[in-house]
Symmetry: C2
């Protein structure tokens, strides 16, 4: 589940991810390595970002999985997305006065803390990195849009298939999966809160997908038994993840 | 519905909006006015941005309303958001190889075309503008997250109330509304596609809101009859719009 911390900035999941958008120069990598300086650890059960709190830092996730969610005044919770190595945690929080969401670890997490000042300083040293971070934020938004379509227009089984294919594509970009599948630490409760289903429903949908020979989620591993048919079922078009880079030389 | 085009960059809706995040310097304003050079007009019924197309420009909306939406392979459509003056149209499209969504005018639109090269050039001339555009993109994402919560966790009447309060807050930021209400060109069909309801259901929900003395949507105008009670019903907390700036002096 966890990955060894890479020795050099260009091997980091963050750099691998941004390389889908921009060819990173030595200067870009040097500015990025400054953003890695303050590495912190978070245990499961302790929020990394708090909804309603001001003066939050953002983090670049180095290893482990996290999830972002909103608590409603009615007491319910909606998981917005999961974060994997290379993703920002709380990028919005570092730009907004008040964080509008929570982030908590799904597994033990190592992440580098970045303040607003450090981020703006990095932007002025390399505007290409600013463009790359804007690209990453746009990709995050594109995923939330897909999750909106998931909830609004897809059946439970299509939703689950789409979700597993998206996770696989994201993990492949940072070298943590291949087309055969991936290690997945998500419980059925987390899947339920992300997909707007009950845990019982999640269990039924996963059984259906397995019995139809499409995908098996067992013992912390997702195995694609028939990748192409799963793509057809989910109407999965990975263009919105924009992984065929770099666009910017 | 439409606004006169402002004579100076600092009076533009785009500048008014970004001022919620950053105090714009003379240099920032001069770079922004370069982004306004190629003003174009779009009639209703003609897509401004096309899903699946490459090499798209982005636009800064100067006057009129637009909407962004996705067409599913199944043929259905999901409206992701509406855009008002000061908003970007297709910011993701200008960074991605392939646009993952469509944008079409809701009313006649005037908008300034911005290419990827122009945007990156502007970032290198003023990294503060890069931060402000990242803020604007983050705010767009925060709104999509709220729409996700809308679909996942709110009833039809709460959803409509939240949606009208959000639009009002956004329009107030660019000087096109006050607490009493706003001019609104959206049809019940557009509301339905945005809120995941049928047009008949939209009609019923609007009647309920009117009969309870909360809000009246008639003849292209939304009038808040009891703003505070509407906020309570919708559990509307405008922190996610981050309008209390500027944060960055």
């Amino acid at each position: 589940m966890t990955q060894p911390i890479p020795a050099s900035p260009q091997d980091s999941p963050f750099a691998r991810k941004l390389t889908a958008f921009v060819t990173l120069s030595q200067n870009d990598l040097s500015v990025m390595s400054d953003l890695y300086r303050r590495r912190r650890k978070f245990a499961v059960g302790i929020d990394i970002i708090h909804q309603g709190q001001t003066d939050q830092s953002a983090y670049v996730l180095a290893s482990g999985w996290a999830c972002s969610y909103k608590i409603l005044r009615s007491g319910g919770r909606q998981i917005v997305d999961f974060q994997i190595p290379g993703d920002f945690l709380g990028l919005r929080s570092v730009l907004f006065r008040t964080s509008d969401h929570n982030v908590e670890p799904v597994t033990p997490v190592r992440a580098s803390e970045v303040t607003q000042g450090e981020l703006l300083d990095a932007f002025s040293r390399t505007p290409r990195l600013a463009a790359a971070v804007l690209w990453a934020a746009s990709r995050d938004e594109a995923m939330v849009v897909e999750h909106l379509v998931n909830l609004g227009r897809r059946t439970a089984i299509e939703r689950m298939a789409h979700f597993l294919l998206e996770l696989n594509a994201r993990l492949r970009l940072v070298g943590m999966a291949d087309k055969s599948g991936f290690l997945c630490p998500l419980s059925q409760y987390l899947l339920a809160d992300a997909l707007g289903l009950s845990a019982v429903h999640v269990n039924r949908v996963l059984r259906e997908l397995r019995e139809e020979g499409l995908v098996t989620f067992q013992k912390g591993r997702v195995t694609f038994d028939n990748y192409d048919d799963l793509v057809t079922l989910a109407m999965f078009d990975r263009a919105y993840l924009d992984h065929d880079g770099p666009l910017l030389a």
